[in-house]
């Protein structure tokens, strides 16, 4: 029954993410129980709710990083499985909450992603990089900085710039505005959520982000 619905939906409203009755457990503790939702192309979905409700686990499950104990997940009509995972991940851009990722320089963040086979054809031009830096209120001088010369908020925006430059179909982000001041929070939220064709699924506690989202999933 579910499959028929999904197929139909694919033809009319392309369902990008379909989560069907999933459960996620950590050591006998079921953090997600029988959860289902669908996200269609261009949706700006946000998962919100109190801490410890398994919001980040859902994002991780979407990418195959956290196992589901029940149900199934479809991305682009493909079931999340060992055989499909590489293909699915080649269509996603991901910005984790943990931005303590080790890089040497800002250029590393931007360019390392485009050395990958799946992204090579999308390598950005200098003007594209400058444009996205401008849109995200990042000074273009930062491109020549070492990683320890920039702040947490700047790093978060640069990681975001990298994710957007990938031009993937889905952007998966965990607390995208957590390290940002009010002004940048609004600017970044408005910019990401105004990308028409981009499907976004985020975890956020930020009221501004939540209000601007087209689909709110409260856990």
């Amino acid at each position: 029954m579910q499959k028929t619905t999904k197929k139909k939906a694919k033809n009319i409203d392309p369902v990008v993410i379909s989560i069907n009755n999933i459960s996620i457990s950590y050591k006998n503790n079921e953090v997600i129980k029988n959860l289902s939702f669908q996200i269609i192309k261009g949706d700006k979905a946000v998962l919100t709710g109190e801490s410890g409700r398994g919001k980040s686990s859902i994002l991780n499950a979407l990418l195959g990083f956290v196992p589901i104990s029940k149900g199934n997940i479809f991305l682009f009509g493909k079931e999340l499985s060992p055989g499909n995972i590489a293909e699915i991940r080649s269509h996603t851009a991901w910005l984790p909450q943990e931005t303590a990722l080790h890089f040497n320089s800002v250029k590393d963040i931007i360019y390392s992603l485009f050395t990958l086979k799946a992204n090579k054809s999308n390598s950005p031009s200098t003007s594209e990089i400058n444009q996205i830096f401008k849109n995200l209120n990042i000074s273009h001088h930062l491109l020549d900085k070492e990683i320890d010369e920039i702040s947490g908020g700047q790093k978060q925006r640069i990681l975001l710039a990298g994710a957007l430059l990938l031009k993937k179909e889905i952007l998966i982000i965990d607390e995208p505005t957590s390290d940002l001041d009010e002004k940048n929070k609004k600017l970044i939220t408005d910019y990401i959520l105004s990308q028409k064709d981009l499907t976004v699924i985020a975890v956020s506690h930020d009221p501004y982000w939540i209000n601007k989202s087209s689909k709110i999933i409260v856990l």
Partner: protein, 260 residues
């Protein structure tokens, strides 16, 4: 040439007395290494004395099968030492690392003894055992450093690995920065060491050959070959160990499982 001056057993025993100083330093700074160091020297002594007796015996016998068995035993111990010193799980890692070391040694021994020295019998005890011993002895440290760095970094920078995967990297692509780091950390000192040989250090094999009465020119040629062989075998071992062990370290979704 004059033969080498023998060391009497009493003198040998007196030689151990100097260890009091390094052991005292290890104890004074509470490094926790004293016990390990003590047992390492005990083990070394027993092993070498046994090898001394054994080598005399097998050099006379020179049976290929026996020589190969001895080399395999050396490799088992090498694999065990690598795992033990890298805090890895013996059950999961023994086979991959053992196979990696055996393959590396096999390739290098065959190349060196069969192709370069052109021995009629590459299993000749006088060549196979000491050369393999030198290969293993000199590459073990590098393999340990490389594997330690690789798995420690992977555990520490798990989020970075995931970041690459989730942004389109294949597993192999996502592992590149970790392999790169492991190779740099492990092989930097090896390369530095290769560069100073002859100037600051006189390597053990060459010194041994010269002391044993060999022509220094021959000793030098052997040493050059050996440095090349050790370097190559270390890289092969690291590369193959990671290649084989990676099959056990990741789940079907390329996630890092618990290691060590």
């Amino acid at each position: 040439m004059k033969g080498v001056t023998d060391i009497g057993y009493l003198s040998l025993f007196l030689g151990y007395i100097i260890l009091i100083i390094p052991f005292y330093i290890l104890w004074y700074y509470k490094t926790g290494l004293l016990k390990d160091a003590f047992w390492a020297f005990i083990r070394m002594t027993i092993q070498l004395l046994l090898v001394g007796f054994y080598l005399e015996f097998i050099f006379d016998l020179n049976s290929s099968l026996l020589n190969i068995s001895w080399v395999l035993l050396m490799t088992v111990l090498a694999a065990y030492t690598v795992i033990n010193r890298s805090d890895l799980n013996i059950k999961e890692f023994f086979l991959p690392i053992f196979i990696a070391i055996v393959l590396s040694v096999l390739i290098i021994d065959a190349y060196f003894l069969g192709f370069i020295i052109k021995l009629n019998n590459i299993f000749d005890a006088r060549y196979l055992i000491p050369i393999t011993g030198m290969l293993l002895g000199n590459s073990i440290k590098t393999i340990i450093i490389a594997l330690n760095t690789y798995y420690k970094q992977l555990k520490k920078e798990k989020e970075l690995y995931k970041w690459y995967l989730a942004n389109g990297a294949t597993k192999q692509e996502a592992l590149v920065p970790f392999k790169k780091e492991a190779l740099i950390i492990a092989f930097n000192p090896v390369i530095a060491n290769v560069a100073i040989v002859g100037l600051i250090s006189l390597p053990g094999m060459m010194t041994g050959q010269i002391l044993g009465g060999s022509n220094p020119a021959v000793a030098v040629k052997y040493q050059i070959m050996l440095m090349i062989m050790v370097f190559s075998s270390s890289i092969f071992s690291v590369f193959l160990s990671i290649y084989f062990a990676d099959k056990k370290v990741f789940d079907d979704f390329d996630n890092l499982k618990k290691i060590g």
